[in-house]
């Protein structure tokens, strides 16, 4: 499906921003978007006119279209409907969430459509893929996509699904902190113990790695998939809103547009406070106070110390997680050779100071903490596709972030593969029947850190069916639990006595079912067909416009001569030349929309030119009245 020389890309699919990178001439580089930016906001919108928007353009219109703008989808991906995180999100997000068809996953209402979260993320991925295709001038179909190290199986699987929907073969789901370490160590020969402290828009991750001989050996990972810049902003929003409510008796959070303006202002103020001590917040006409009364304004100043006070416990949570992870790795803060700061939130001075206090050393930060993850993904993508492993190349040994186990009698959780086990890995477990002639065994597989099954994340239920009839305890079924290098779980089973493989039925508890995914992929194939038809249409326009333009050009000298003789002036000729210029560039790049808008004017100009070239009494030459198309 893809030739081997085709470029491979690394994508950092972030909570607030995403980026795409590739290894070019031996070094990883960010691929700019078609509008020239390094970062693309992870925002998807359905505009009022029904157009689907992604990235900057979607973010810009968020203010006027809060219900139709989806952001921070990463916080919902692979989550179960009814989970604490989803309930939390429903209470603060301006767009509306509904339960999936099985009532298990989360769907987003966008206009009259209901989209799964992987489909939303796929739109962002497709945008980045298109950026890369324009950059390389050829198709791109293989990618490494990063996720927070602390993502569980459901979240990884859903991210991989998003990649497939975007038409990408996902070579690897890579952990973000590991990715940052890869980018950091690229082209150097490191021999040290590195801690990656990654505080991004929505998630916090910490990883301990031993780097030696080009092998990046992850010792332990930890994190919190619900702690990031969004939470810092929310503290600011709540603080501003409560102060406002105390003064005016109205809560601005109740109004979607006011909430969106507050959100933007909070983010801007939080970023500004990383370099200055005070940030002014002006939100005029924030809340409509009702008929006949003037609108209310929010005018205040947020100081850095106030921000730090509001978010102190969030920073403390990061440090607690860090301490726990170091304990898991059996490493003391003083034994760490380098602390790598990743994610936009690490720009906050209080975060840097907390890291310094904890490790007793300054954290090191690349030039762009927001870009380093995508760069690392590009490095890994390149390593996974190079035809022959060479000396320069690296090897990544990652670990599974959560205990994997099953539910046993009494609702307890029995760990089968403990967390921080190097992947790929597998473990077998023998089950016996507990009743005579038992035909099936139901096994609930979970991930998490609690002894109680109910407090862990269910991955799925596996039903072993068609077990041969025998007295209880006589049938032994060996179940193999596998975790791939992506951190994704697979289960298989066989009857120990007969050696026969058991069929396993998987009931996914989150994300898309295989059938639904296929349906979405089919739909997308339909979209592709439409796109291909559209490109045929563009071709037709190109050739038609080309013919028209050539004829106009031929007639132009005669037309100019006639006008000059008549003493009318060369306005019409100048406009016709400008039109021709625009048409030529549109033909060259194959800009279908521009061609469509130019078509009619070209036709009119041609008629005019024909008329003028034939005789001089043909009106005033209204050849180019329009503004630039496209």
């Amino acid at each position: 499906m893809s030739d081997l020389d085709e470029p491979v890309i690394g994508i950092d699919l972030g909570t607030t921003n995403s980026a795409v990178a590739a290894v070019l001439d031996g070094a990883p580089r960010i691929i700019p978007s078609r509008t020239g930016q390094a970062l693309t906001p992870s925002v998807v919108a359905l505009a009022r006119n029904g157009k689907q928007l992604v990235g900057h353009i979607a973010k810009r219109q968020a203010l006027t279209n809060p219900e139709g703008t989806v952001f921070a989808a990463k916080r919902l991906i692979g989550r179960r409907w009814g989970s604490r995180e989803v309930e939390d999100a429903r209470s603060v997000l301006p767009y509306s969430l509904v339960a999936g068809p099985q009532g298990q996953d989360v769907r987003v209402r966008l206009g009259d459509r209901t989209l799964s979260v992987p489909e939303i993320s796929a739109l962002v991925l497709a945008e980045l893929r298109a950026d890369a295709e324009v950059f390389f001038g050829r198709s791109v179909s293989r990618a490494v996509i990063t996720v927070p190290a602390y993502f569980n199986d459901g979240q990884r699987q859903a991210t991989k699904d998003a990649g497939r929907i975007a038409g990408l073969e996902v070579l690897r789901i890579l952990n973000e902190p590991t990715s940052a370490a890869l980018a950091h160590g690229y082209g150097k020969t490191l021999e040290k113990r590195v801690v990656v402290f990654d505080l991004g828009g929505g998630t916090f991750d910490v990883s301990v790695l031993d780097v030696a001989k080009g092998v990046y050996d992850v010792v332990a990972v930890g994190g919190d998939t619900y702690l990031g810049g969004e939470d810092f902003d929310r503290r600011v929003i709540d603080f501003l809103s409560e102060a406002f409510a105390a003064e005016h008796g109205l809560d601005p959070r109740a109004e979607p547009m006011a909430l969106q303006r507050l959100r933007d202002a909070a983010e801007a103020a939080r970023c500004a406070l990383s370099s200055v001590n005070e940030a002014a917040i002006h939100l005029p006409f924030l809340v409509n106070a009702g008929a006949g009364r003037p609108a209310l304004h929010l005018e205040t100043i947020l100081t850095r110390s106030k921000l730090e006070e509001l978010t102190r416990d969030l920073v403390d949570r990061c440090l607690e997680t860090t301490a726990r992870t170091l304990r898991d790795a059996n490493v003391k803060p003083a034994q760490v050779d380098e602390v790598l700061l990743v994610g936009g939130m690490t720009r906050m001075p209080r975060v840097g100071a907390a890291v310094r206090a904890f490790f007793g050393r300054e954290g090191s930060r690349g030039v762009h903490p927001e870009e380093v993850v995508a760069l690392g993904a590009a490095v890994q993508a390149s390593a996974l596709t190079s035809p022959r492993p060479t000396e320069r190349e690296l090897l990544l040994l990652d670990v599974t972030p959560h205990n994997l186990g099953i539910m046993v009698v009494g609702g307890w959780f029995q760990t089968i593969i403990p967390r921080n086990t190097t992947v790929p890995t597998s473990q077998t477990h023998v089950f016996t029947t507990s009743r005579d002639d038992q035909a099936s065994v139901r096994i609930a597989v979970l991930q998490g850190g609690s002894d109680k099954a109910s407090e862990n994340e269910p991955l799925g239920e596996f039903v072993l069916k068609g077990i041969r009839k025998a007295a209880r305890g006589a049938v032994e079924v060996e179940v193999t639990f596998e975790i791939s290098a992506d951190g994704i779980v697979a289960v298989s089973a066989r009857d120990l006595a007969s050696g026969q493989r058991q069929s396993i039925q998987v009931t996914a508890t989150s994300g898309l079912g295989e059938e639904e995914l296929r349906q979405i992929l089919d739909e997308r194939a339909g979209d592709l067909l439409a796109a291909r038809q559209a490109s045929a249409e563009v071709e037709r326009r190109r050739s038609a416009s080309g013919v028209t333009a050539a004829e106009i050009e031929q007639l132009l000298p005669a037309m100019a001569l006639k006008l000059e003789r008549a003493g009318i002036g060369d306005d019409a000729v100048v406009q016709a030349r400008a039109l021709l210029g625009r048409a030529r560039s549109a033909i060259e790049v194959g800009d279908g929309a521009a061609l469509a808008s130019l078509e009619e004017r070209l036709e009119r100009t041609l008629q005019l030119a024909r008329g003028l070239a034939g005789s001089i009494d043909g009106g005033d030459g209204g050849g180019g009245d329009g503004r630039g198309g496209g």
């Binding site: 081997l4 070579l171 030696a212 001989k213 390593a383 035809p387 492993p389 090897l395 790929p424 994704i488």
Partner: protein, 322 residues
């Protein structure tokens, strides 16, 4: 495409179908051999290091192994049947790393997997070390009297305890008393010594008493009296020795002596009827009727079943009245 879910595997070129593998014949042979030998290999073998190699060596070896065996290092190659082999070998290497890169687990594993000649070598080392330390102690003891005394006390204490456990109380008491004498502040030695002494006395007294009974039966009253006296000296707390001695004295006609011994028995065990009986008999022989009657009545009070006592008392009462 290692690690990809089965759904994606089908979209990549399938080497199983073509049977072609992008590995050299040499690589294929090495992997096959290693895989076949895997069940019998120790963690040391898997990493290719010698038994008891240090953690650093194990770590370095693991990194090398990972670079050879991790499926990612072969990404993009057709591996066919070698993919599961690589995965199996990589897992074995990781399992070896888990043990050998952890100081505690490594040490335990090294003991468990020590080669036989290593085991005997370790044993002989242990023995010669034990012998050397004993010699060192002896040398030290010769050099300083204080250490010598402490060593001697320890030795006596050990032997004494042993003897006590085996019921040789005489031996135990001798050793323990010596120990207590050498080190008067040694609380354990003192306590054990008095216990051993008490038990040893009881033992000796029992022996003498038996001999006394035999002598008496043989009609050697004087010898019997002497033996009973010895038994009494060895175990003064037991009234039976005194009573037996009093009877023997009575038989020899030494009435005053008998009374004295019987009084000692009564003093030792005022609630023992036989002691009062013996005293009554002795006093009767001395002709101290009133006192004898009081002793006999006391004996009857304690044990009304004593027929001889009742008869003697009746006779005394009548003679007293008459």
């Amino acid at each position: 495409m290692p690690g990809a879910p089965p759904t994606q595997r089908s979209s990549v070129s399938s080497p199983q179908a073509t049977g072609e593998v992008d590995l050299t014949a040499e690589e294929q042979r090495t992997l096959r051999e290693l895989d076949a030998r895997l069940p019998g290999l120790t963690h040391w073998d898997v990493l290719g290091i010698s038994w008891n190699a240090p953690v650093d060596a194990a770590r370095a070896a693991y990194l090398d192994r990972a670079r050879e065996l991790h499926p990612d290092r072969h990404a993009g190659r057709r591996l066919g049947p070698f993919l599961p082999i690589l995965e199996r070998l990589f897992r074995a290497a990781t399992a070896a790393r888990e043990v050998l890169c952890d100081e505690g687990r490594r040490a335990t594993y090294a003991r468990e997997t020590a080669p036989p000649d290593e085991l005997s070598r370790a044993e002989s080392v242990r023995r010669s070390e034990a012998a050397r330390s004993a010699e060192r102690r002896a040398r030290l003891a010769r050099a300083t009297p204080l250490v010598a005394r402490a060593t001697r006390v320890q030795e006596l204490l050990r032997r004494g305890k042993e003897a006590m456990a085996e019921g040789r109380f005489g031996q135990a008491s001798a050793d323990l008393l010596t120990a207590a004498g050498l080190d008067p502040h040694h609380a354990e030695a003192g306590a054990l010594a008095s216990e051993a002494k008490r038990r040893a006395g009881g033992e000796r007294a029992r022996d003498r008493h038996q001999e006394g009974l035999r002598a008496e039966a043989a009609g050697q009253g004087a010898a019997a009296l002497e033996l009973y006296r010895e038994a009494l000296a060895a175990d003064p707390a037991n009234p039976r020795h005194a009573i037996a001695a009093a009877r023997a004295a009575l038989g020899l006609g030494q009435h005053a002596e008998a009374t004295e011994l019987a009084r000692a028995a009564v003093a030792q065990a005022p609630g023992f009827a036989r002691a009062h009986e013996a005293l009554g008999e002795a006093l009767t022989a001395e002709g101290r009727t009133k006192e004898a009657l009081r002793a006999l009545e006391r004996a009857l009070e304690l044990d009304p079943a004593l027929k001889g006592v009742r008869a003697l008392a009746r006779k005394l009462r009548w003679s007293f009245l008459g």
